[in-house]
Every structure is written in structure tokens, then in C-alpha cells.
Amino acid sequence: MQVNSGQQAKGMSLPSLLLLILRRQLMLYARKPIEVVQPLLFFSLVLLMFPLGIGPSAERLAPFAAGALWIVALLANLLAVEGIFRSDFEDGSLDQLLLSPHPLYFLLMPYLFVHWLTTGGLLAFCSPFFAYGLSLDTTGIPVLMASLLLGAGVMTIVGALGAALTVGLNRGGMLITLLIMPLYVPILIFGVAGVNAAIVGQSALPFLSLLGGLFFAALALGPLAIGAALRIGADN
């Protein structure tokens, strides 16, 4: 009656499990067209606001373009991150994840990666068009993309921590915002500063390396905190 061979098996190796979870997250994401489109729609909608505010003329828009794009990226991340663990908690999948014999640190990576890919990654890849729309100096675009990619990584990890801390209390995005927004501040500042530096012809390297430093620090320590927060939430 049992399908598998009855004898003691050793379960799945970590890499193949990670691949599995990765595919799972991607599939769940793809099953919800809304989630795919919403960040982009939000992005374009908000960017529409800025020309409205100060008129469409290039020379007026340009100095604000970097700031505008970065603010929007940040808000788009905020919009999405709240749900990163929500459904898994509600249907009990989170319990299963926590019970897996593999270190939680790694198991969280697919979650973070897919979220990063579908918010920051997505926006970074479309950012050139928007940058063009806001007549951002083209010299700034590579830096913009790089900084968005790195920054979105940090925001994903910080945001996931906020989501993990609030997963047990079925509450919307307000509380999460309060928890994580202050931590977004340095990312925003460095990101904008980098792009502006590139535009005026200075080197953006210091800022990018700052973001990179933040990113790797977050990547090294963040998942530990997220894991701890999830265990706390599951015990609630």
C-alpha cells in the first residue's frame, strides 16, 4: 500500500529541496497575475505623478528623477513584502517548513530570492524606460539599475523580517510599514546619492559599495533574524 520503499530513507538533499521550494514560490507567484502586474502598474502610476507635480519639462524633471524612481521602488517593495509568509502561515505550510530537518537559514533563501526577483529585479529591469520617461540623464541609468538591484535585495530581507515578526497577527501592511520603513532610510539615501553622483560625473562606486556592504551584511545576518521571528510567530 505504501508507494515508496518502506525502509528508512534519509529524505532530500538540501540543494534539491531548495530548487523545489524555488519552483514552488515561482509557480505560486505566476498563478496570481495581479501580483505580477501590480508593482509595475503602481510604478508607472506613481511616476505619472511626478511630471504632474513639476511639469513635464526635462530640465525640471531631471534632478528629481533618481529620487522619484527610488521612492517608488521602495513603496512597491513595501506593497508586496507583507504577503511573503502570510499564506504559508495561514494554511499551515509554515509549520512544515519549520519542521524540515534542514537549516532554516537556507530554506528561506528561495522565498527571499523570488520576492527580490519579482519586485526589485523586475523594477530594475524596467527602470531604464521609466528613467527615460523622467528624462534622467542616461549616464545615471547603469548606476540606477545596479543600485536598485542591490537596494531591493536589502529591502527584501528587511521587509521579510517585518513580515515574519507580524505573521502571527493577521494584520495588514500598516504595522509592517512602521517596523521596516525606518530601516529603509539608509538604502534610499545611498541609492539616490549614487545615481546623482553618476549624473554629475562623480564616481558612484562609494555608494554602490555601501549598498553592496549593506546587502551582504543583510544577507549574512538577516535570514537568521527572520528565522527566529518565524519561530516566534509560529509559537504564538
Binding site: 528508512q8 529524505g11 514552488r24 512544515q96
Partner: protein, 197 residues
């Protein structure tokens, strides 16, 4: 006698300011089925979550598990956006369920033949439950902790599950389960009634 898969010594559990479980001891060896009974709110789920390690902060006492266990709780841990097959293919527990072939077999056993590719959101309550229970026919874990495994199942489903339990025990597995209705064919090795504690 074989060393136990799960051992708990003078366990005390408090929840919401109430002492639910006092000086609880349990020793679960291969081949044993222990059934936890008790009225609603007695503390069965809490106890299971403590023993499984999901609830780390709510208890005092010593707890020993020698290997990864299988836990099925009140929630069905099934993703309604996915199909039954996908649910078993892309699980997060780290068990080795084998290929698609085995998974389809298991789904057929639990009576979901023909529903492999229907989104779970379109399945009935019992069918959704069965998707999760198909896991019991694929897992390689020896220690099972099951919280009300029979909910939403029809008569046939219940006896199917009991047969599987019997087989698992005979293969040297161990089961700790809660249930409000008594088992039909199986005789639990021992019963714990939390209401009396």
C-alpha cells in the same frame, strides 16, 4: 527494547496563563500507537505542537527526538492555488516523495484519481484533506504526529487511513495522534486523556 523515537519527561505546558499540562511523561517506541483524547480545549494540539518542536517557548521539561518527524495539524497545509500533484511535488518538508509516478499512485490510493490536475481550490473539504494525507503514503519518516487526522473524511477514508497506520506500525513506525472518535480496527498501545490531568 528498541530505543524510543520520542521521549518526554515531566513536561509542563502553560498557555494563555493556564497550566494545561502537568508533569507529563511519554515514551514512544517503534511499533507503538498512542492516542491522545480530551475535550475541546483540553490541550491536545498544544501538546502535539510542543512534542513536535513547533512550540519552543511554551513548555518546561525535557524532550528528546532522535529523527525528523511528520506532523499533520488542524490546517491542511495545502496550497489552494496549486493542483494536488503540484502540492506533493513542491512540498517544503524535505521528505523524498520520489517521482511523479509515485505521487500519482498515492493520489489514486487516497481516491483523487482524476483530480491530479484540478486546482485544490476546486476540491471538496474532504478531498483537500486527502491531498495532504496522500503524504502518509509517500513519506519516509518513522515518527508521525497527527492532530485529528480523520476530520472531514468519510467512512471509507477513515478505514483507509487506519489500514495505513497499521502498516506503518508493522514497519517499525510510531504514531502519536489525537481523535475525538475512537479508532475502529486498530488498538492503541496506550491512551492519554488530558481532561483527567
Amino acid at each position: 527494547m528498541a530505543e524510543p523515537l520520542l521521549e518526554a519527561v515531566d513536561l509542563n505546558v502553560e498557555r494563555g496563563g493556564r497550566q494545561l499540562i502537568q508533569d507529563f511523561a511519554l515514551r514512544l517506541s517503534p511499533g507503538q500507537l498512542v492516542q491522545i483524547r480530551g475535550s475541546n480545549g483540553a490541550g491536545k494540539t498544544t501538546l502535539l505542537r510542543v512534542l513536535s518542536g513547533l512550540s519552543r517557548f511554551a513548555y518546561t521539561g525535557s524532550l528528546q527526538r532522535t529523527q525528523p518527524l511528520l506532523f499533520i495539524g488542524h490546517q491542511s497545509a495545502v496550497k489552494t492555488l496549486l493542483t494536488p500533484r503540484e502540492n506533493l511535488l513542491f512540498h517544503v518538508t524535505g521528505e523524498d516523495f520520489g517521482e511523479e509516478r509515485e505521487i500519482d499512485q498515492a493520489l489514486a490510493i487516497v481516491g483523487l484519481y482524476g483530480f491530479e490536475d484540478v486546482p485544490v481550490s476546486q476540491l471538496s473539504a474532504g478531498q483537500q484533506r486527502r491531498v495532504n494525507l496522500a503524504r502518509l503514503f509517500l513519506t519516509d519518516r518513522m515518527l508521525w504526529l497527527l492532530d485529528e487526522p480523520f476530520t472531514a473524511l468519510d467512512q471509507a477514508g477513515v478505514s483507509l487511513l487506519e489500514d495505513r497506520f497499521g502498516q506503518h506500525l508493522s514497519q517499525g513506525g510510531a504514531i502519536l495522534m489525537t481523535s475525538h472518535q475512537p479508532l475502529r480496527t486498530l488498538r492503541p498501545h496506550s491512551e492519554v486523556d488530558l481532561s483527567e490531568l
